[in-house]
């Protein structure tokens, strides 16, 4: 128990803490100057002399005989000490610089001085170790599981389109950079939470695309690249930069993928802002081509997207690796179609997809529509000012994603993103608080959270 029993391996470390050394507080000028200013200037001879001085030090056992003085010592030994306050030895080795800031390891024992019988102390220490192990390792284990084939985290790739039109078209200001940084951080955190892959795509305006007039179709190329890069992944979730994932605790598998049928509507008549004729009436089509709901199997759902008040919305959508997807990605842009339609397709690839959905029957059976708020809730201000509970974010239902669609037209993207970031933090902090309270509210009592209003 006493310090003399285990001399610190670092001379000048814990046990020679300055506060306890005789003559502490009286710092000799010799003490600091060589150490703080030029540690490299210490000669071997002086160092040896100092260390001899330290070794000559009388045993502590004579000093810490009383209970109170010992406790006082333990407490002060755990306080971080600054080397400037070096004791009369005046010398601190270079290596021990850091050690001096740490509480001495033995201080813990001292603090538990009340449990002086080793047996009880041991139990408590083991419990503490278990608790620490749980805190430190549990998340690692969960993470390992989620990254494993069993957990299926690697089956999902999140693709975030960043740096839209960057480089050539516009200069980015502080707000644009803040959006960029925050949005990437948000997706990173979510991907890490569930072991998904994250691909941040640089949508830098490329000469290649402007030359071929197919800007904004490059997301097709980005998805294809991601499919090559992650050959084992199954689902690819495209997210625009102006989106915010609100719920880190909701996995995509649980939210959607495990039970596609119950979330998806295939019959576009359920919500049909574009008034698309469905099913197709053409007599020469087979049953599949004229079917209301495709083949009805969840395996055939290869593209999941939402519709907003204006039609298809590609700010947040999922594609599954499949032959069908290859074909769609391959034919999405076609020079002959583009040449005729580029003046009409204001929303470019989004309009092109709407067009293909209407004109090419093979596409319909493999597309599923999600209720908008499932992966693409809008903030107020997008799609009309009044709140529409099918379109706009609902806090009480804890929608997964907010897409600040169209915020660059007369709204403030950064302000919206900031607000949703804060809201998400607040919602998720409460959740964390409730978990900790389940463990006895210890966390709350030790660190009362002042922002939990």
């Amino acid at each position: 128990m006493s310090l003399s029993r285990s001399p610190s391996p670092h001379p000048g470390g814990g046990w020679s803490s300055p506060g306890l050394a005789p003559g502490s507080g009286t710092s000799t000028p010799r003490g600091y100057s060589p150490n703080t200013l030029s540690p490299g200037g210490i000669s071997w001879a002086t160092a040896k002399a100092k260390s001899d001085e330290v070794r000559k030090y009388p045993s502590f056992s004579t000093r810490n005989s009383g209970f109170f003085s010992r406790q006082k010592h333990k407490l002060s030994a755990r306080l971080p000490s600054f080397r400037n306050q070096a004791g009369d030895t005046g010398y601190v080795e270079k290596d021990s610089y850091r050690a001096q800031w740490r509480p001495s390891g033995r201080g813990l024992w001292g603090n538990l001085g009340i449990l002086r019988r080793r047996g009880r102390a041991r139990v408590v220490v083991w419990l503490l170790l278990l608790w620490l192990g749980y805190l430190l390792l549990w998340s690692t284990l969960v993470h390992l599981y989620r990254r494993s084939p069993l957990g299926g985290g690697k089956k999902v790739v999140i693709i975030l389109g960043s740096n839209t039109e960057g480089g050539v078209m516009e200069w980015k200001g502080a707000r644009e950079w803040a959006i960029e940084r925050n949005s990437i951080w948000n997706k990173k955190r979510y991907a890490q939470e569930w072991g998904y892959e994250l691909e941040v795509a640089n949508m830098l305006a490329k000469k290649r695309y402007s030359h071929e007039w197919r800007e904004s179709w490059e997301k097709v190329d980005v998805i294809r690249e991601a499919m090559r890069k992650y050959p084992k992944a199954e689902w690819f979730w495209w997210l625009d930069l102006n989106t915010w994932i609100m719920e880190y605790g909701t996995s995509l598998q649980h939210h959607l993928l495990n039970d596609l049928e119950s979330h998806v509507y295939r019959d576009i008549n359920d919500y049909n802002p574009l008034n698309i004729t469905h099913p197709l009436p053409e007599f020469y089509l087979d049953e599949l081509g004229r079917s209301l709901e495709g083949d009805g199997k969840s395996d055939s759902l290869n593209l999941l997207l939402t519709q907003d008040c204006g039609g298809f919305n590609l700010g947040s959508f999922l594609v599954r690796r499949s032959l069908w997807t290859d074909r769609l990605l391959d034919t999405w842009w076609d020079p002959v179609m583009y040449e005729q339609m580029h003046m009409n397709w204001e929303h470019k690839e989004q309009n092109a997809l709407e067009y293909m959905y209407q004109s090419q029957p093979w596409i319909r059976g493999n597309m599923g529509f999600l209720p908008q708020r499932a992966i693409n809730a809008f903030p107020p201000g997008a799609c009309g000012d009044e709140i529409n509970p099918t379109i706009h974010y609902q806090q009480k239902d804890r929608d997964l994603v907010v897409n600040m669609a169209g915020c660059m037209f007369g709204r403030d993207c950064w302000a919206e993103m900031y607000n949703y970031r804060e809201l998400s933090n607040q919602l998720n902090r409460r959740w964390w608080g409730s978990v900790t309270s389940a463990f006895g509210g210890m966390y709350e009592r030790v660190f009362p959270s002042d922002d939990d209003d």
Partner: protein
């Protein structure tokens, strides 16, 4: 500790089971060797069997070939239609194929203002809807005669080794010098569409399409309104050239075969590829000169029809 079986017994049993009499050991060996042999023979048999019988990967649960012929009943004379139908039915009866005769006017609404020849595409789609369990659809222009009816489509084309040997790899898709070439690594099992080219274009007057998702995708894409409204000089033929060159997912499922296999041109017609002219014994003859005319009948066909009639009477 209590055990379910008394542990004392096992030492007595073990020597019995491990020390087989020598004659039983040899017996076991021979049995094992025989089993191995039989299994490997079965495996080899099944391998060769499946390799020799597989046509170009017909989807499960489908069989047979549907021959799709698009007839312009408004313009063709009755006798001409009768000739074409007789020729196709004779062939289908010999090999157990099915004929699907479509009427051009049925697709007027679908084709709209575009050239009537676009009707080929919905006609094949229509055949697919009418015969969902057929494995292959063979589109053949009305201005064509099957001259060698004893030749089955399987021996001509669909047999996997036969197709493998016919496939033209690394060849410009659109003659003579398109920079897009057919993939050199394609295997016959990847193939869903078999088509030929003449000296200028891919030749949609005669092609073989395998039933399945690709067929639906390919036909729907080809028939897209924006392709029809683009005023391609050769309508659906140029539309097909375009798709083939711009969309690798289509090209990766397509096999080009020498023209004479599926689409030998008659002597009087222009635009046959090198060695694309009809020779005696070829499977069929096409009369592309009649394709884009709204004719009562294709007079060029008459002498060949006589030859064909003689042939089937003698054979």
């Amino acid at each position: 500790m209590q055990f379910a079986l008394p542990p004392r017994k096992s030492p007595h049993r073990l020597p019995k089971s491990s020390q087989l009499p020598p004659y039983r050991r040899t017996q076991l060996k021979t049995i094992a060797v025989c089993a191995c042999l039989v299994l490997s023979i079965l495996y080899l048999l099944s391998y060769f069997f499946s390799a020799s019988t597989a046509s170009i990967g017909a989807p499960v649960g489908t069989s047979g070939v549907v021959i799709v012929t698009l007839l312009d009943r408004e313009h063709f004379s009755e006798s001409y239609i009768k000739k074409i139908v007789t020729n196709r039915e004779d062939y289908a009866n010999r090999h157990g194929y099915t004929n699907f005769f479509a009427s051009l006017s049925d697709y007027d609404e679908a084709v709209g203002d575009s050239p009537k020849s676009w009707a080929t595409v919905p006609a094949v789609r229509h055949a697919m809807a009418s015969y969902p369990h057929a494995a292959h659809f063979f589109h053949l222009s009305p201005h064509a005669l099957i001259m060698n009816p004893s030749r089955s489509l399987k021996s001509l084309l669909l047999d996997s080794s036969r197709l493998e040997s016919l496939m033209l790899k690394d060849l410009p898709v659109v003659p003579p010098d398109s920079i897009i070439k057919t993939f050199s690594h394609l295997k016959e099992k990847d193939i869903d569409l078999v088509i030929t080219q003449d000296s200028d274009d891919l030749n949609p007057g005669s092609f073989m399409l395998r039933n399945g998702d690709f067929a639906r995708f390919f036909l729907d894409l080809w028939f897209d309104p924006l392709f029809r409204s683009y005023n391609f000089a050769k309508a659906e033929a140029h539309g097909l050239d375009h798709i083939m060159q711009w969309h690798p997912t289509v090209l990766a499922r397509t096999a080009l075969v020498p023209q004479r296999v599926l689409s030998a041109y008659s002597k009087d017609s222009h635009g046959a590829s090198t060695d694309g002219m009809y020779h005696d014994g070829d499977f069929l003859i096409r009369f592309p000169g009649c394709d884009n005319l709204q004719v009562k009948e294709c007079t060029e066909m008459e002498p060949y029809y006589m030859i064909w009639q003689k042939k089937i009477k003698s054979g």
